[in-house]
Subunit: 200 residues, 2 copies
């Protein structure tokens, strides 16, 4: 049986708790499929959220970029941050506008980022990210040299205070009358596909 | 010529400013293509970011949900929030791990949410959202009745303090040596496709 993350006040799923999960394997699977996360932090001008790519390795997620990157500098300073990862699986078209929805899988993670200094960990994390983009790719490019590793800021977030939320299945109808409305209802699956590679 | 949004300290694109845009038409096009936004706000426990669907109508974006929704209650109270919208267009596979990247189009918007009370505006916004999911759909379902409009909290954010950031094109190589490495380089286009609708 898969292990459960402990639930805190921040990760208890309050709205539609039946859609929530704290199962570590469920959280990991969503993190492993998504290419982009959105990281929120408090700035002197109010909350900021920015997108960035990321990779999970064991029980951490890692983001990276230039040492001049505003987001990385902000969240690498051991301050509270929040990271959201969202996959959209389908449009849910109900007979009533009110019950239109989406099928999705999302993770929200709270924690403090920590700057990764060790070159061996940075190298491992960056190779894992390349592998996530394209399996086998880390053996099909020149890996980072020490100068490049020094020029890459890597921030780790623990996957500790995290929850998943998932909607699946068909639309719902509140009343027998709505269920009999003469409109089509169902779902339209969405998926991300890779096109033909373009050399250049 | 397209109009430019005014630039503030929060929306000046500091990193790689050549990728930035404050062109209103560019910002609107990204907002109109994306199905999901990520909204950040300050909570008593620190920053929070949550995903939700949204629609642009004129110079506002609108999010909606149950009056019990934590996100909506938090950002509807005229507090500072930040909204990010991200489209991933391609994987960028360089000859060096260091220059792997993604082609993307993103918008970051700062502002204060305002609760929309008027039923006619709520109805118009919710119909626009349904149309965004599937053109023609607002005429192919039962539109919200007054009870449903009352049971839907709608929050507006102005598209005023906003910027877009865009990466396009092939990978880059820093040095003549890297450009001669024997690895494939190029981009792998990504796109979201709709599968066959599933009735239910």
């Amino acid at each position: 049986m898969s292990e459960s993350l402990s639930v805190t006040d921040r990760t208890r799923v309050r709205r539609k708790p039946a859609r929530g999960s704290h199962d570590r394997a469920v959280v990991h699977a969503i993190l492993d499929e998504a290419l982009v996360c959105h990281v929120a932090f408090a700035s002197e001008h109010g909350p900021v959220v920015l997108p960035t790519t990321f990779v999970r390795v064991d029980d951490q997620i890692y983001i990276h970029g230039s040492p001049a990157n505003h987001l990385l500098r902000a969240v690498g300073a051991n301050v509270e941050a929040c990271v959201a990862v969202t996959l959209v699986d389908a449009l849910v078209l109900a007979r009533t506008a009110f019950h239109h929805s989406m099928n999705y899988r999302s993770v929200v993670l709270f924690g403090r980022g920590a700057t990764v200094e060790a070159h061996d960990i940075k190298a491992r994390v960056l190779a894992a990210l390349i592998e996530k983009l394209e399996p086998g790719r880390s053996a099909a490019c020149r890996l980072p040299n020490p100068t490049e590793l020094s020029a890459t800021l890597v921030i780790a977030f623990p996957i500790a205070e995290a929850s998943a939320k998932i909607r699946t299945g068909p639309p719902i109808a509140d009343t027998p009358e709505d269920a009999l409305l003469p409109h089509w209802s169902g779902i339209v699956p969405l998926r991300v596909v890779r096109g033909e590679p373009i050399a250049g």
